[in-house]
Symmetry: C2
Subunit: 318 residues, 2 copies
């Protein structure tokens, strides 16, 4: 199957067109209109088969994840998703795989009201690069660098599920029926917290999405802001499926250092907390406080038994 | 070497910052300002080791080519380059390779006054995806679809060099010293015709860059415009190095179906030809007529001995 036929049949999606796409798939460039007063936020992520996802996973889930991880970056900056570009490299043109991949793309594109406007297709190892383009007024662009001592540290949902889902996928964790399904879906089909990102505009002082793991991402945020963070272990939300895991050390490790959850971690000045929680609840999203920004550098996680030894969790300070 | 160290040392380029980059490398998203009245043109291309370039080629040349092919797409749309994003996947973090790659990026970024604003780095098969972002007033965005019967078909420079350079690289063509160097450079370091693309604004009726080969790209343009094309073989510019190749069939094949030249092919109404040639000459670029748009569908190449048999050239009509 020729590249042009693949694009025409599987990547020129039959989804709702956006008015701000002046020229989409099929020319040398796409032509896009950024409204006056809005800034363009862009993020590019690559997913490689058997590095970032199991190469034999359902193609629909792969498409979902490739888009989700990029929309998650837009969410972390409070940007509203608008357009996507996609480069797909694959060993052979398997039409069944392409049909499922295309279906996964279409679902995400329709759900988030974005448009796939261009990209590339070539033969090579299975690899998907997506760039997400979002719009955001400059003054509410949430960066990693705005956290201040005293701010509350919040997350949008339970952590550790994706890491436990991956362990289950690899046969290294025995989870039961419904719990196993839930954890696996959290790994394969992360849900980008786009609505939460937009709802926290002008309220969150800093934000990041949890892709590398809570400790690593909190460290990024605190480094960028020049502050420290104290997290309370007992306040971190866990799903029922995670709670059902017997090995307490495994849970701690998954929650603190497992990546791929794609929940947002953000900071809010204390006097903005209630308003932020309300604004997120209005769009069906959660604002769960798990700790506080401190003037003293470093990341600490405290529990009723005292500080958790993070090195023992496999966490590398950097 | 950790991903963050690679980005900090080799991809956070120490080049001239642009004022329209409000947030660059290092956050979840880059934040960019599109000036009022301008539209955003984007193009994404992936180059895979041993598919699009020899994996053992100089890393500086690889960086050059990855950027050049994307800027060439902007040129084909008359857009002015502004920002780049880059995703780099490589088997291991070889610092010597990364230093050369980074140097190649910096050279191109400085030369075209663009800024690398974000991207991704991961371990995997050697593969580079670049997205180029350019600015263009909507009314002068050159598409493939604007060619009209009677328009002259022009190119910006000699064709076939890159295909001959690849043959030489593979040991399938014996070229002499200076000619061999020239052809190889034309393959490894294509020069995007950015200045030509901007100079033809409002004059060219359609444009495309020659990446797939003259016949294939002219076919794209004529399909999009709903017209036919008649090319005169004796008017197609050839370099001295190409002329020095003894095998006439090989030359024809390289010129007509060899890709990777990244010259622009564009159409100009006859009454605009002189002004266009002058405008391009002002910026040191060429406007060489090689044929004419015809109302009759199809691509023909005529020579003094009659029509050239394109199927014999390995050309597939589609």
């Amino acid at each position: 199957m020729h590249e042009f036929d693949i694009i025409a049949k599987y990547l020129n999606l039959n989804t709702t067109p956006r008015k701000d796409v002046l020229c989409g798939v099929g020319d040398d460039c796409a032509l896009l209109k950024v409204p006056q007063g809005q800034r363009l936020a862009v993020s590019m992520d690559t997913l490689i088969g058997d590095v970032h996802f199991p190469a034999d996973a359902d193609a629909k889930a792969i498409a979902h994840k490739a888009i989700a991880v990029n929309l998650s970056d837009l969410a972390a900056c409070s940007a509203e998703p608008a357009w996507l570009t996609l480069s797909l490299s694959m060993p052979q043109a398997d039409e069944k795989w392409l049909a499922a991949f295309s279906e996964g793309l279409s679902e995400m594109v329709e759900h988030f009201a974005v448009q796939l406007v261009g990209g590339d297709t070539c033969r090579g190892p299975l690899s998907i690069t997506v760039q997400a383009h979002g719009l955001v007024p400059q003054k509410v662009f949430a960066q990693r660098s705005g956290a201040k001592a005293g701010d509350l540290v919040c997350v949008t949902g339970p952590l550790g599920d994706a890491a436990l889902g991956l362990l289950h996928y690899k046969g290294e964790l025995a989870a039961s029926g419904a719990d196993a399904d839930y954890l696996l879906q959290r790994y394969l089909r992360p849900y980008p917290r786009v609505a939460a990102g937009i709802a926290m505009r002008g309220r969150a002082s800093a934000a990041i999405d949890i892709s590398d793991g809570l400790l690593a991402d909190v460290q990024h945020l605190s480094n960028a802001s020049g502050v420290g963070v104290v997290i309370r272990w007992d306040q971190i939300p866990l799903s029922d499926a995670a709670r059902a895991v017997a090995d307490q050390q495994l849970i701690k490790r998954a929650v603190l250092t497992g990546g791929d959850d794609y929940e947002l971690c953000f900071t809010v000045p204390e006097d903005q907390f209630e308003a932020t929680q309300k604004a997120l609840a209005m769009v069906g999203e959660k604002c769960i406080p798990i700790g506080r920004i401190s003037g003293k550098p470093g990341v600490r996680v405290v529990s009723d038994e005292g500080d958790i030894n993070l090195e023992k969790m496999g966490y590398r300070h950097f």
